[in-house]
Symmetry: C2
Subunit: 147 residues, 2 copies
């Protein structure tokens, strides 16, 4: 059956962020729809953000295109140019290599849900607001030292 | 600005299908969001189906994963196992190589809209209901002859 049955797919709020950067995504609940469905060309994640939760720390990827579409509720897209309200049906694209750190934050009092599309990156990810960098398959401080 | 402004993106109902297979998608209006936004890892199309229109002829790809999410209105997902109603927020995945011909048909009296994700395939696409095959970069009859 090609139609996705969300309830049948495991949901996780795990993160690889080192503390104290993990707290911001504690209320981020992710279902890996692409993997569950047998897709290999790109990843598809269904994400619920509880009130106060962020989709990630604000970041950009050297080598991963990303695309998001809001399914329900509302979120604030925060990026270099400012803050933009996102509601059901609103979409945003983040081409790889553009140094525009971005994330979604649920500042409302209700859950919001969105889909995120991307491919597993091999290159670095940059976090403009905090002392964090993804490099060589691990989170490091900006000076390259391990947590 | 990462947020997508749909109205700023050209919409087209063109198709490469040979007649008489083109008529089914005459009311399919596509915006290439991924290309417009500078994404290269995967394609993102915003598609409006007018009443009576189909997303494509029923087909499956040898080497292209596909994923769709309904944004508004309703459509019927037709595939080997039958017919499934799809509404806003409903999603479906079509892993490459699975011989399950599929398409969406708008049998309602109002427009519906969905997003479709995939990568440009190099292999064949198969059309179980009609004398059509995509092979070697062109539409052909099932016996390989040109239209």
């Amino acid at each position: 059956m090609p139609k996705i049955d969300l309830e049948a797919i495991e949901q996780s709020n795990s993160t690889g962020y080192p503390p104290p950067f993990a707290a911001a995504v504690g209320g981020r609940w992710v279902r890996r729809l692409g993997r569950h469905s047998g897709l290999a060309d790109f990843g598809v994640s269904h994400v619920v953000l509880k009130p106060g939760a962020a989709s990630s720390q604000r970041h950009w990827h050297e080598d991963e295109d990303e695309f998001v579409v809001l399914l329900s509720g509302e979120a604030v897209l925060v990026e270099n140019e400012g803050r933009t309200s996102m509601r059901a049906g609103d979409m945003a694209a983040f081409p790889k290599g553009e140094p525009n750190g971005h994330h979604l934050v649920n500042e409302s009092e209700d859950d919001c849900a969105f889909l995120a599309f991307g491919r597993v990156p091999t290159g670095d990810a940059h976090y403009p607001d905090i002392d964090l960098r993804w490099s060589g398959g691990a989170y490091r401080r900006k000076d390259g030292s391990a947590f």
